[in-house]
């Protein structure tokens, strides 16, 4: 490694730390906003978040320059990019598309944990790829896998947890002293014509304005955001698995061999396929579907961490 490359790697590491601390500060800011409801806290947290995101992006670019290849060749780099995409996904989808500005703390918690684990356990200097990874498929398969993972983490993890929290609270309020009737959408009157039955992406639970006190978005909005994010991630994940199979055919002589990584990515795929079907069938909406999404998130974590670290297989990349 030339001094120039070492220099780039050092800059990348410094920027990584800057991003990590910016995320931590921003996370604290978002949570403080939830606690104290001061608009200035939210705006400050968002500004720090955007600063961290920019530093993180530069860190990833520098890393790629230092190694002279794509910056997702080992677990450290993969984790860094995963956290970056999850935060970016939050900014674009949740804050941009759905104008929901209070969930930053939750997604940053995920990003900070992922990055902290990466830097403490997986750090390796930049270097060339091992032969098994040295293929143009690393650009296709791994990018799709990271993108799918980060969106699943956002939809199946962060947004679903927020939904469950909010939903529990709304239920408590709804079942208050006067024993109000169930929230609209919790049960479906079979006498209704079919077009009144909610569609797969229609919100369940209270809609909009019933939420007077909570600062999190209404559960209906969270539910829809979670569904849309997962529905966005699912084809990407499907593509990642297919591209992985094509790569496996090229590298190992079989497109599918029940290697632990293959097995777990299939399990994750199956669970989210189940989630999408559950949403399309009445009776499995709201909380029950959210639980499936959460199980999928756990499966995703197993696919990434457990399979890479503890379950021996062809994808055990730790240390390279």
């Amino acid at each position: 490694m030339t001094p120039h490359e070492l220099h780039l790697a050092r800059i990348s590491n410094d920027l990584f730390n800057v991003a990590l601390f910016a995320y931590i500060a921003s996370m604290v800011g978002y949570f403080a906003y939830l606690a104290f409801r001061r608009e200035v806290l939210r705006i400050g947290a968002k500004a720090v978040l955007m600063f961290g995101l920019a530093a993180h992006f530069l860190s990833i670019v520098q890393r790629g320059l230092a190694a002279g290849r794509v910056p997702w060749g080992n677990m450290y780099e993969y984790s860094s990019l995963l956290a970056f995409l999850a935060v970016l996904g939050y900014v674009v989808i949740v804050e941009g598309r759905y104008k929901s500005r209070t969930l930053g703390g939750f997604v940053l918690m995920f990003a900070v944990l992922t990055m902290a684990i990466a830097v403490s356990f997986f750090y390796v200097g930049p270097g060339p790829l091992v032969p098994a990874l040295n293929s143009y498929w690393i650009k296709i398969h791994v990018v799709a896998a990271i993108l799918g993972s980060s969106l699943f983490a956002l939809g199946g993890g962060v947004l679903t947890i927020a939904y469950l929290v909010k939903d529990a609270r709304e239920r408590r309020e709804a079942a208050g002293p006067a024993a109000r009737p169930p929230i609209m959408g919790a049960s479906i009157d079979l006498a209704d014509p079919p077009y009144y039955a909610p569609g797969a992406d229609d919100p369940v639970g209270a809609t909009g304005s019933t939420d007077g006190r909570g600062i999190l978005p209404p559960s209906a909005t969270l539910d829809r955001m979670a569904y849309r994010t997962i529905a966005f991630a699912f084809p990407i994940w499907t593509f990642a698995v297919i591209a992985g199979a094509i790569w496996a055919q090229e590298a190992w002589g079989r497109y599918w061999g029940w290697d632990p990584k293959e097995t777990w990515s299939f399990i994750t795929w199956t669970i989210y396929a189940g989630y999408l079907h559950a949403r399309a069938t009445s009776g499995w909406k709201g909380r029950r579907a959210a639980v499936i999404a959460l199980v999928g998130f756990v499966s995703l974590l197993v696919t990434y961490y457990a399979v890479n670290l503890w379950i021996v297989g062809l994808h055990s990349y730790k240390g390279f």
């Binding site: 060339p128 091992v130 797969a200 002589g253 497109y255 061999g257 399990i267």
Partner: protein, 496 residues
């Protein structure tokens, strides 16, 4: 659909077991170790098929049930979809009862209002059917078509997997530099994994290994493994030249050939006087390293067997491809990586007695007598009776004297050879599956009805509609649509 869903989740659950319990087809040695460590649990696992989840009868059963339930679900759905595609959109009797409803009064005759509305809806990609003073329109049939395509492709994928794996095989070919390997049942190294319907039709094509190269970084991290080969037709003519490396297989006659492994194969010659008894490169293997020792620092082990010498002669050999690394590790007490050959040496031990073990790579010494030991370098010859060695040609060999020489060190390459005719089917199915998934998830079905009723000078345009998915988005789309219908039908008179 719920049955299929439950079966799919059961499949996922079975896969969890498959990833946590060691699997025979992937790692037989770990299965064996598990059975030794946990005899009771191991017995249970073996009977339940947990050591081969993906080949077990219950995994096959779940898959079969899944296929059946999918087909049972898809056939009526497909029929209904085809019927729906053939049918023109159906007129509604009452249109003011739909979730979306709007009325506009326009200054034109009803026929003209209907004609211009039809044009607008067509432009917006609706399928439209027209009757006297009424329109029925729908959009988003692609959702159902995509969903059906996705599910049928999933079935096609299963069919491709079963066909390909069933009629295919995979095995390992060991080729030493300079030698040729031919595709035939007897020539595979170890067992060939054959599909259930494999007919034993090996091709007879050949692979001649010209050179094997392995390169490393100084840390021992591998950089590249490449086998330079000639591919030969069954009649021996040259079909082409290929560099087989990780991620770059070669293809010939439906066979795919992959770089799998490599090792050292010293050429060993044994003579009795002038008579050559044995001359061949012997492929050597390595033990798995103890914790903390890199594989590259370990020596290589092999045997040479001579059943015709006395009651039998076996030579155990331990090769250090880099003798200076060996000396350095002796001095420092630390393992030293050997990434290339450098004055290779072999330690040998000779054994006399019956050769019971038929394997060419191991020696059963339980009934053999230890005879001599020694150290042989490349380009030297040793007297096996004494273990004494000399440079080749510096000493005449007496008649009847048993000698061993080590003229050259070559490398061998292990190639994985497999055939799977289902690959194109599986690939096509995967692409179709993805193509179906996108409209199935991202389009929504919506229906719109228009009725134009004469009202004095002008016309009342009644528009109703609903969406099966994405209802909140449809509200917006609907109000824009009504505005456009009104504009197209002429001047605005009033809204009710």
């Amino acid at each position: 659909m719920r049955t299929a869903l439950v079966l799919l989740l059961l499949l996922a659950l079975a896969s969890v077991v498959g990833s946590l319990v060691p699997q025979g087809p992937n790692s037989p040695e770990r299965v064996a170790r598990f059975q030794v460590d946990h005899p009771l649990l191991g017995d249970f696992y073996r009977h339940a098929g947990f050591f081969d989840v993906f080949g077990s009868w219950w995994f096959v059963l779940i898959t079969t049930l899944l296929v059946i339930s999918l087909v049972l679900c898809l056939v009526p759905r497909t029929r209904a979809a085809i019927r729906g595609l053939r049918q023109r959109p159906v007129q509604a009797r009452e249109i003011d009862g739909f979730p979306q409803y709007s009325e506009r009064t326009v200054a034109t005759r009803p026929e003209l209002a209907i004609a211009s509305s039809q044009k607008v809806l067509r432009r917006r990609m609706f399928r439209v059917s027209r009757a006297e003073g009424v329109l029925a329109a729908e959009k988003g049939t692609l959702r159902e078509v995509g969903s059906l395509l996705f599910h049928w492709s999933f079935l096609l994928l299963l069919v491709g997997v079963i066909y390909g794996k069933g009629t295919g095989f995979t095995g390992k070919a060991l080729v030493v530099e300079g030698e040729t390997w031919t595709d035939g049942a007897a020539n595979y190294d170890g067992t060939v994994r054959e599909g259930r319907f494999f007919s034993g039709d090996f091709t007879g094509v050949g692979v001649r290994l010209l050179d094997f190269e392995d390169t490393y970084r100084r840390t021992g991290q591998p950089m590249d493994f490449v086998s330079h080969v000639d591919l030969l037709e069954p009649d021996g003519s040259l079909a082409g030249r290929a560099d087989i490396r990780v991620n770059h297989p070669a293809e010939i006659d439906g066979l795919s050939i992959y770089q799998y492994g490599f090792g050292w194969a010293p050429v060993v010659e044994v003579r009795e006087g002038d008579r050559l008894l044995y001359s061949a490169p012997a492929p050597f293997g390595q033990l798995s390293p103890p914790a903390g020792v890199p594989q590259l620092a370990l020596p290589w082990n092999g045997v040479v067997k001579l059943p015709s010498v006395g009651e039998g002669l076996g030579i155990q050999l331990v090769l250090w491809p880099d003798s200076s690394a060996y000396l350095q590790s002796l001095e420092t007490g630390r393992p030293v990586l050997m990434t290339q050959a450098n004055h290779p040496i072999m330690f040998f031990t000779t054994w006399r007695g019956p050769l019971l073990d038929p394997s060419p790579r191991s020696l059963d010494i339980s009934v053999m007598r230890r005879w001599t030991t020694g150290t042989i370098g490349q380009g030297t010859t040793c007297d096996l009776a004494t273990g004494k060695c000399w440079e080749d040609g510096t000493r005449p060999v007496g008649p009847g004297e048993l000698t061993m020489s080590f003229p050259a060190l070559r490398q061998y390459s292990v190639l994985q050879v497999s055939r799977d005719r289902g690959v194109p089917i599986v690939l096509a199915a995967a692409i179709l599956l993805l193509l179906g998934l996108l409209p199935a998830l991202y389009t929504s079905r919506r229906k719109v009805w228009v009725r134009a009723e004469a009202n004095g000078e002008g016309t009342v345009l009644k528009v109703g509609g609903f969406a099966l998915q994405r209802k909140s988005q449809f509200e917006e789309e609907f109000s824009k649509l009504v505005d456009e219908l009104e504009r197209a039908s002429g001047e605005k008179v009033g809204t009710r």
